[in-house]
C-alpha cells in the first residue's frame, strides 16, 4: 500500500524533474555542440591555411573522420531528388580524395513549406540542415537574418569555386545575388530552370490535323523548334483552341492557376514581361504605377483566358496537377518548368513530346519572350561547425566538376555551368535541353523579386490573382490596382521605396 503511494508521488516528482531537466537539456545540447566545434578548432586553422594556399588537400585534417551531412531539399522535385541519388558518388570521391567518410541524410518539404521548415530550424542557430536547397526568391530572407554563409567569403578562400564560369549572367543574378543589382552573393545554383512549353509532337505531325488546322485558321501548325521560335501567343491560343476537345477528353494546354505558393505568379509573369511590362522598379523600389498598367491588365486577361483551353478544375492546377494531366494524355501542350522534364516525358510519351520556348508576344513588330526563372540555389547553413563547413564546400566543388554536372544532366537535372551547357552535344542529352539553353539568357528569362518581403508580396498577389480568376474581382485592372497598392505599402514599410502608396489606395478593399 505504501509502495503504491510512493510510486504515485514518484510519478509527480518525475514529471517535475522532466520539466526541469528540459531546461537543463538545453544546456547540455549547447555543450555537445560547442565541444564538437572546439574539437575541430585545430581543423579550422589548418583547414583555412591550406585553403588559402591553393585549396587542394585542404581537408587533409578531416581524413579518417566520419561526417554525417544533412541536406534539406524540395519534396517531390526531380532535381532535389537527383542530388539525393548522386550523393553516394560524392562519398566515394571524398573518401578517395580527402580520406574522410561522409554519409548523407535528406529531409524534404514541399515548395510551399520549405522555407517554414528551414526558417524554424535556422533561427535556433541549429545545424540540423547543413546544406539547404532553397527556392531562388528566398535568398534575401535567408541572408538578412544572417542564417547563411556569404558566398563572397567562400570564394575568397576557394578560388576553384570563384572561377566557375556560368552559362549566362542571368544564372548569377537569379541564383546567387542578393540584393538585386549588387555583387553580394549568397548561393550556388543547384538547378537551373525556366518555364518552357511541352507539346505533343505526335498530334502536331498528324497530316489530318495539319490539314484541318490550316483550313480553319489559315496558317500551318508549327513543326520545328524554329517554327516555335516564331510563334506568338495569339497563334498559340488558336492552336490550344483547336486541340480542345472535351468530348475526346483532350484539352489544348495547361498553366498553373493555383493559389498555393507561387504557382499562379510563376506562370503569369512571363506574360507581363513578354508583352513589355514590368512588375516593379528595382531601382526606386516602387510597385505602384509599374505593376498596375494597361499593358499588364491586358496580359492578365490573356493569361486568364487560357483557362478556356484547360481541363475543368483548372483553377486548382499547380505543378503536380499539370504534370498529372499531361502524363495521363489529357493535354496537347503544357506550360511547365524545364525541371520536370523527366517526369513529364514518361516512357509512354517517349518520342511523342517536343519541348520548345514559350510563345512570345509581338512588341513593335518583333517577337519578344521573357520566361520565368525557376530553379534553386544551394545555400549553406552559417551555424555549421568547421567540419561540416569543410565538407559542404568540398561537396560543392565536386558538384561543379564537369563529370558531375554531366552526370546530373544525364539523370535529368539542368546544369548551369558554361562548360556543361556549351559542351558539343548538350542539346541532345535531354529533350528539353535545347529549349532550356535557349531560354536561360538575360534577355529571355527573369526571376522575380529577391526581397526579404518576398513571401508577403507573394501571398498578397496569389490571393488577388486567384480571386480575379474565379470572379471575386471584376476586372484585371482593379486586381492589379489592389495588388500595387498593397505591395507599395509593404515596400514603403520596409524602407525599400520612399514613396507611400498614393491617396487613391485608401479606398481599395
Amino acid at each position: 500500500m505504501k509502495s503504491r503511494s510512493l510510486s504515485v508521488i514518484l510519478t509527480l516528482v518525475l514529471l517535475l524533474t522532466m520539466i526541469l531537466s528540459a531546461c537543463s537539456g538545453n544546456k547540455s545540447n549547447n555543450d555537445s555542440s560547442s565541444t564538437s566545434s572546439s574539437s575541430s578548432g585545430s581543423t579550422a586553422s589548418s583547414g583555412s591555411s591550406a585553403a588559402s594556399s591553393g585549396g587542394e588537400g585542404g581537408s587533409s585534417s578531416l581524413a579518417g573522420k566520419k561526417i554525417e551531412m544533412s541536406i534539406l531539399g524540395i519534396g517531390g522535385w526531380v532535381p532535389s531528388q537527383l542530388s539525393v541519388e548522386m550523393s553516394p558518388a560524392f562519398a566515394e570521391y571524398a573518401k578517395e580524395k580527402y580520406g574522410y567518410d561522409v554519409t548523407f541524410t535528406f529531409e524534404e518539404a514541399p515548395f510551399s513549406s520549405l522555407f517554414q521548415k528551414a526558417a524554424a530550424s535556422l533561427s535556433t542557430k541549429s545545424q540540423e540542415f547543413n546544406i539547404i536547397i532553397s527556392d531562388s526568391q528566398w535568398l534575401g530572407a535567408f541572408a538578412e537574418p544572417g542564417w547563411i554563409v556569404s558566398v563572397n567569403e567562400i570564394m575568397q578562400q576557394e578560388p576553384e569555386l570563384a572561377n566557375i564560369e556560368w552559362f549566362d549572367p542571368v544564372v548569377q543574378k537569379a541564383y546567387m545575388t542578393y540584393p538585386d543589382g549588387t555583387d553580394q552573393l549568397w548561393g550556388f545554383p543547384q538547378e537551373g530552370d525556366v518555364l518552357v512549353l511541352y507539346v505533343r509532337k505526335d498530334m502536331l505531325s498528324d497530316p489530318t490535323e495539319q490539314a484541318n488546322f490550316k483550313a480553319k485558321y489559315g496558317f500551318d501548325l508549327p513543326q520545328t523548334f524554329e517554327d516555335f521560335e516564331q510563334l506568338t501567343i495569339d497563334k498559340f491560343l488558336k492552336m490550344a483552341e483547336f486541340f480542345t476537345r472535351p468530348e475526346q477528353d483532350l484539352y489544348g494546354t495547361a498553366v498553373q492557376y493555383s493559389k498555393e505558393y507561387d504557382y499562379f505568379t510563376g506562370s503569369f509573369y512571363p506574360h507581363i514581361w513578354s508583352s513589355g511590362g514590368e512588375i516593379w522598379d528595382p531601382v526606386s523600389g516602387d510597385v505602384y504605377g509599374v505593376l498596375n498598367t494597361e499593358n499588364n491588365a491586358k496580359a492578365l486577361e490573356t493569361f486568364v483566358s487560357i483557362r478556356n483551353y484547360m481541363p475543368p478544375g483548372a483553377e486548382n492546377y499547380g505543378i503536380a496537377q499539370v504534370t498529372e494531366a499531361f502524363t495521363q494524355g489529357k493535354l496537347f501542350s503544357a506550360y511547365h518548368w524545364a525541371a520536370v522534364g523527366a517526369a513529364m516525358i514518361t516512357p509512354e510519351l517517349q518520342d511523342k513530346v517536343m519541348v520548345v520556348p514559350i510563345p512570345g508576344y509581338e512588341v513593335n513588330g518583333e517577337i519578344k519572350r521573357i520566361s520565368s526563372i525557376g530553379g534553386q540555389p544551394w545555400v549553406i547553413n552559417k551555424f555549421n561547425d568547421e567540419d561540416h563547413m569543410r565538407v559542404a564546400i568540398d561537396f560543392l566543388k565536386w558538384w561543379y566538376l564537369p563529370e558531375t554536372q554531366l552526370e546530373f544532366a544525364k539523370r535529368g537535372g539542368n546544369p548551369t555551368t558554361k562548360a556543361a551547357l556549351e559542351s558539343p552535344d548538350f542539346d541532345s542529352i535531354q529533350p528539353w535541353f535545347r529549349a532550356y539553353r535557349y531560354s536561360l539568357t538575360e534577355s529571355r528569362a527573369r526571376d522575380f523579386w529577391h526581397h526579404p518581403k518576398y513571401s508577403e508580396l507573394l501571398s498578397i498577389q496569389q490571393e488577388e490573382f486567384t480571386s480575379y480568376l474565379t470572379g471575386g474581382r471584376s476586372s484585371a485592372a482593379e486586381t492589379l490596382e489592389v495588388i500595387a497598392c498593397k505591395q507599395q505599402q509593404i515596400m514603403y514599410d520596409a524602407g525599400t521605396t520612399k514613396n507611400a502608396p498614393p491617396a487613391a489606395c485608401a479606398n481599395i478593399r
Binding site: 508521488i9 517554414q116 544572417g146 483553377e315 526579404p452 513571401s455 470572379g471
Partner: protein
Amino acid sequence: MKGIAKWLHERNLFPYALLVPVLIFFIVWNILPLLWMVGLSFYKYDITTGEPLKFLGMDNYQAIFRDHGIWQALSKTFLFVILAVGLETILGMALGFLFWGSSKMPGRRLALTLLFSPMILTPVAAGTFFRLIYDPVFGIANYYLEAWFGLKINFLGDVKWAYPAVLMVDIWMWTPFMILMTLAALGSVPKAELEAAQVDRLPWIRRLWHIVLPHGKFILMLGILLRTIDAFKTMDLIYTMTSGGPGNATELIAISLFRKAFEAFTMGNASALAIISLLIAIAFTSIYLYILNYKERRA
C-alpha cells in the same frame, strides 16, 4: 513519502497539491505563450527581414480592423461554424436516435466502427484525397454526378461551390462525433424512467422532451461546444484542399492567421489577429457555458 501527504493534509494543501501538475502545464504551455503573443502583437516582427523588433503600439490591431479581408474571413468563419455545427448536430442527433435501438443488431460493433472512421482520418490525407474525389476530370464524385444526374461540378475551382464543398467534407468528418455524443447522451437516460413512460404510453415527442432531453442535454451541449471550438479553428483540412482559395472563397479566420504567420511571416500582425480570434472564441464559449449553467440552475 507518506509524511509529505500527511503534512499537506494537515494544512489542507492536499487538494491544491493535486492541482499543481495541471497548473504547471497550464502556466508553462498556455499562459506564458499567451503573454508572449500579447507582447508580440504590439510589435512589428517580420521573420524574413532580420530586422530587430519595432514597437508599434496598437498599429497591428488597427491594421486588422481596417483590413476588409479579415472581416470577410470572420463572417465566413461564423457562417461555417453555424452551418457545420448546426448540420452536424441535426444529422448526428437524427442518426444517433436511429442507432439507439440497435443494441441487438448483428455486427453492430463493426458498423459503428465504420461509422466513426471519418473522424480518425488524418486531415492532411483527407484533404488531399478529397481534392481528387472532387476533381472534375479524375474525381469519382463528378463521375457519378455525371453518370446519374448529368451534372458536372467544378467543386473546388468554382467560387460558388468551393465553400459548400469544404463544408461538406467537414460535415462528413464530424457528424460521426455528434452521433457518438448522441448515443452517449441517450445511454445516460435512466432505463427505469423510459420503461415507465412506455407503460404510460406517452407519445414519443413527449418522451423525448420530458425524459430524454433533461438527462442527455448536458452531454449533447458539451458535444456541440467542443465542435464549435474546433470548427472555429478549422485549418489544415481546408488549407490542404484549397489554400483558402480560389481567391478567398474558403479563407476562414484560422487560415488567414496561418497565412499571415507562415506565408507572409509577419508574426506581430499574426499575433494581433490571434488575440482577437481568441477573444471571440472565449466570448462565445462563455455565453454558451452561461446558458448551459443557467438552464441547469433552473432545472
